[in-house]
């Protein structure tokens, strides 16, 4: 046990003078951090401050240009993640690192496979995973394909991956961005338990109240370098935010209602089949057809979803991911076929193409910016054109109006504070938050009458968050109707005029945001509370 006392004396991780340059950016510059063993150490900072880069360095995925790393007092030099794994470090990445076409089990054991002779010993692996899952309260089915999992499940798989390797130092890069409060609480429960077992956790989040809740120490990074080390007991969220960005902690409060009585978007009886859209047979009404689908026990991704959004109204959709939000958005955008009616400003648009819908005034902030929002290998101005290719200022007859598009991109960069060297920069060179600001700016241009905003501030730092909220509020005041989908319940409650809860493809509750807490809302979302609250 003398080793134990020695270990407590020695820091679990010591980073000294870490510097890392990327083309055009210095991601880390002379970073110094000391992490005590058996603690949760939070790292906070703006988008692009260099947190992920630093963690990748610690995990051996990237090599620092300068600086030293000490783990448990020993100086180390990781060439690859396997070196880091061997030193007892595990990392849960900001973006999922999962092979979709593999089962949970395969994803977890990859690289550390139990063997029986030459074979992969799936039996042993399954037992081990089930044990670990039970011990840490991480429910997963080892034999499911990852592509069928929701984000919460995926996050658990990621954590199991790390635990499976017996890591003693855990790096969690924004693990809560996609979780609902209950799940966050569960995760924190797990982390506390791990901590009590002597594990060390390095935790990154933009949600400062979470950070204050879980962290034992906090390091603030700004523009690639460490600016402060603070004790969570002695600091407020407000102060922390100021340290990060030098500004006040924003709140998503909407002040007075701007809801009008003009309906902007009306959705009626929206229903989507799970195993491929089939046209309704002639002579059958949609309701009869859908009833029959239900009777046949067909899985419905959307089940008779109806709502109205008025001009100047923000309708928030709350739900655990995977309950039909994506499908709802895609049905409204015309990306996926569904039964039922969609009306925009009184016109039936259900048979329109995505392009025509966009042209008639629907803006779209997609949930996954890398997948649906950006051309990563294209310049910023080309990304400005994306989705607006048939409209001014991007279009000029059959031509793409490069000059006007560039000028308008400059405008967005200015108005939305996109940090970038210029409009010709490739989108992939921007940090995630800045990419998001560009998308928001793009979708707000051209004065849409209706906006779908899916997780508009996901992974965005507090400063940028405030800016995006301001933009949404201003547009709402000017009469914009917004369909807001967010996993950040504070944001949802703060911004929405009405909240609808989606559960298994159905709208199960309509709530008044003025008297609901995130905890109660979480109850509806997980199906723990049923029924509609009276206003």
């Amino acid at each position: 046990m003398s080793a134990d006392t020695l270990a407590t004396a020695r820091p679990a991780v010591e980073l000294e003078g870490i510097t890392k340059r990327f083309p055009g950016v210095v991601a880390n510059h002379d970073i110094r951090i000391t992490v005590r063993p058996g603690t949760v150490h939070a790292i906070v900072g703006e988008n692009g401050a260099g947190k992920s880069t630093l963690m990748k360095i610690l995990y051996g995925m990237q090599r620092p240009d300068e600086g030293t790393i000490k783990v448990n007092g020993e100086q180390v030099s990781f060439r690859t993640p396997s070196d880091a794994i061997a030193a007892g470090i595990g990392m849960v990445h900001q973006h999922f690192m999962l092979a979709d076409n593999f089962t949970v089990l395969e994803n977890i054991v990859l690289g550390a496979e139990p063997r029986k002779g030459l074979n992969l010993d799936t039996g042993a692996a399954r037992r081990r995973i089930t044990d670990l899952a039970a011990a840490h309260g991480l429910r997963v089915d080892p034999d499911r394909l990852v592509e069928d999992l929701g984000v919460g499940d995926r996050q658990r798989v990621e954590i199991l991956k790390v635990l499976y390797r017996g890591a003693r130092i855990l790096i969690l890069d924004e693990p809560t961005a996609v979780l609902v409060p209950q799940e966050v609480e569960e995760l924190f429960q797990n982390l506390r338990e791990l901590k009590s077992e002597g594990l060390t956790v390095i935790f990154i989040s933009h949600k400062l109240d979470e950070v204050l809740d879980i962290a034992d120490d906090i390091t603030v990074i700004r523009r690639g370098t460490t600016v402060a080390s603070v004790d969570p007991r002695e600091v407020t969220a407000r102060r922390l935010a100021e340290l990060m960005v030098g500004s006040e902690l924003p709140t998503p409060e909407t002040r007075e209602s701007t809801v009008t009585d003009k309906v902007a978007l009306k959705v009626a009886g929206l229903t989507m089949e799970a195993d491929g859209h089939r046209p309704v047979p002639k002579g059958t009404s949609i309701t009869a057809y859908v009833d029959k689908l239900r009777q046949d026990g067909r899985r419905l991704l959307l089940d008779d979803v109806s709502f109205e959004i008025h001009k100047g109204e923000i309708l928030g959709i709350a739900g655990v991911e995977g309950n039909g939000q994506s499908e709802l958005i895609e049905a409204i955008m015309g990306i996926r076929q569904a039964h039922g009616d969609v009306e925009l400003d009184g016109r039936d648009i259900s048979s329109w193409s995505t392009l025509k819908r966009r042209e008639s005034g629907i803006g779209y902030i997609p949930e996954d910016r890398h997948r649906q929002g950006l051309l990563l290998e294209a310049s910023l101005w080309e990304n400005r054109v994306l989705g607006h290719q048939t409209r001014k200022p991007a279009k000029n007859g059959p031509w793409v109006d490069r000059k006007a598009a560039k000028a308008d991109t400059e405008r967005i960069i200015g108005e939305y504070d996109v940090r970038t060297p210029g409009v010709d920069t490739l989108a992939l060179a921007l940090s995630g938050g800045n990419q998001q600001k560009l998308i928001v700016g793009r979708e707000m241009s051209g004065e849409p009458s209706f906006l779908i905003a899916a997780h508009p501030t996901r992974g965005v730092d507090v400063g940028a968050q405030a800016a995006i909220w301001d933009h949404l509020r201003n547009a709402r005041a000017a009469g914009l109707a917004v369909l807001l989908i967010s996993a950040d319940l504070d944001e949802l409650i703060g911004l929405s005029d009405t909240i609808q809860v989606i559960y298994r493809g159905r709208l199960v509750a309509a709530l008044d945001p003025s008297d609901i807490t995130p905890e109660r809302l979480g109850g509806y979302m997980t199906g723990a509370i049923a029924g509609t609250e009276e206003e």
């Binding site: 092979a99 076409n101 593999f102 990859l110 063997r115």
Partner: protein
């Protein structure tokens, strides 16, 4: 549960197909449709395709698109011929494997280490393979060399120094040859099965056995071992693999070299079949093997089916220019459509409301029309223009693809240039 269900369904389908084919054979009298000769030819033609397709599978499962299979196969043929005429078949086998692997190594260096676009590297190897082998022949086989004296020339190597062993199934397809006897009775179904079995077991080149074993072996290695898991992870999400300490570069190197070796093995098979290297003997098989792999949805079983289908059609085509056996394809098609129509009609009867629709009726009407046309063709045409017969294997592949609209699932990161520590 569903797996077993699928398996049974496949068995039933095969049985139904056999029944149908047998029926067609009896009606048309073209015994060659299921003769052991045809299936022997089909096997000979399918094996190199399957081998080269396996090559494609190994590479693409590890995330490297390999359009250079043709060039690697050419290297395989040349080296097999070169070693074979001097030291015999075993040496030929080794040299063919190494020759192909050499091409694979080149592809790996370019795509993995230098991050060159996979297609362009493959195309370059397709240029290099024939160029290099031609050059080697020009140097090593020109007149006055020992090889030339042994029967080599610039376009061919000398023959293998000893023959490649061939084996048959004792008693059943050799000696008493029970299957052969059964086949020659031309009984319904029984003779068909006998013919098929005998074709697949009579006088089979040892390399065929090896190749057939390699299919399940590939499945085992890729889907049942830790190495296979790592290899496939490099093709699905190399960054995830990297983050777990898998050496993606090394895996890719190994996979692409094995891929080349498989292509080389396919080339070696051709050399064994011809007993020597003949310039141009690969004849575009690298591409067709690749197609077979895609046809098979990047899986060994499907790949074997694709190669088998193509080999069968090609074999039948080569063997049928005189007999007109190919016209029975019309009857076969007509019968398939008939079965389809019966099934659809039953669906209509069952008063399923989904089933009725303009679309449904048009589909059925065109199927009926197609059936009538095919039937009429079968009755009237007794010899097709040879060019049309020649393109049958290709056409058949297309039609099968169209009908069996598959949900293809290529490895997600196939063709993606992977760089350590640089994921988006």
């Amino acid at each position: 549960m569903t797996r077993v269900g699928k398996y049974h369904l496949a068995l039933v389908a095969v049985a139904a197909l056999l029944l149908l084919v047998s029926l067609v054979r009896v009606v048309t009298g073209h015994n060659d449709i299921t003769s052991s000769g045809t299936f022997g030819a089909a096997l000979t033609l399918a094996v190199p395709l399957a081998l080269v397709g396996l090559g494609g599978l190994w590479a693409e499962r590890a995330g490297v698109v390999n359009i250079g299979l043709e060039g690697m196969m050419v290297l395989g043929t040349w080296f097999a011929g070169w070693a074979g005429y001097q030291w015999g078949p075993v040496a030929a086998l080794v040299a063919g494997l190494l020759g192909g692997a050499l091409g694979g190594l080149l592809h790996a260096i370019a795509t993995v280490s230098f991050g060159v676009d996979h297609i362009i590297s493959g195309v370059a190897i397709n240029l290099l393979g024939p160029g290099l082998t031609r050059f080697l022949s020009e140097v090593l086989y020109r007149e006055g060399t020992a090889a030339s004296a042994a029967g080599g020339a610039i376009t061919t190597s000398p023959p293998l120094s000893s023959p490649v062993p061939e084996v048959s199934l004792p008693v059943l397809s050799d000696g008493p040859d029970l299957l052969g006897k059964l086949e020659s009775t031309h009984w319904f179904l029984l003779s068909d099965v006998a013919g098929i079995l005998r074709g697949l077991t009579h006088d089979v080149n040892v390399l065929v056995i090896l190749a057939v074993l390699l299919l399940p072996l590939t499945f085992y290695v890729l889907w049942r071992t830790p190495f296979g898991l790592r290899l496939r992870s490099a093709g699905e999400n190399p960054w995830a693999a990297e983050s777990l300490g898998v050496s993606v570069y090394r895996i890719k190197y190994v996979a692409v070299m094995i891929s080349g070796a498989f292509a080389g093995l396919g080339g070696t098979f051709l050399v064994f079949d011809a007993t020597k290297y003949v310039e141009g003997q690969t004849g575009g098989r690298g591409f067709i093997g690749l197609a077979a792999m895609i046809f098979g949805n990047w899986r060994p079983g499907g790949l074997a089916a694709g190669a088998g289908l193509f080999g069968y059609a090609d074999g039948l085509q080569l063997r049928s220019s005189n007999s007109g056996a190919f016209t029975s394809v019309f009857l076969f098609g007509a019968m398939i459509l008939l079965i389809y129509l019966v099934l659809e009609a039953r669906k209509l009867m069952s008063a399923d409301l989904e089933a009725r629709g303009v679309r449904q009726y048009t589909v059925m009407a065109s199927a009926t029309l197609g059936m009538i046309v095919l039937f009429w063709l079968w009755l009237t045409v007794d010899q097709m223009p040879s060019e049309l017969v020649k393109m049958a294997p290709y056409l058949l592949t297309l039609i099968v693809l169209l009908v069996a609209s598959q949900r293809l699932r290529p490895p997600k990161a196939a063709g993606v240039t992977y760089r350590r520590g640089e994921q988006h």
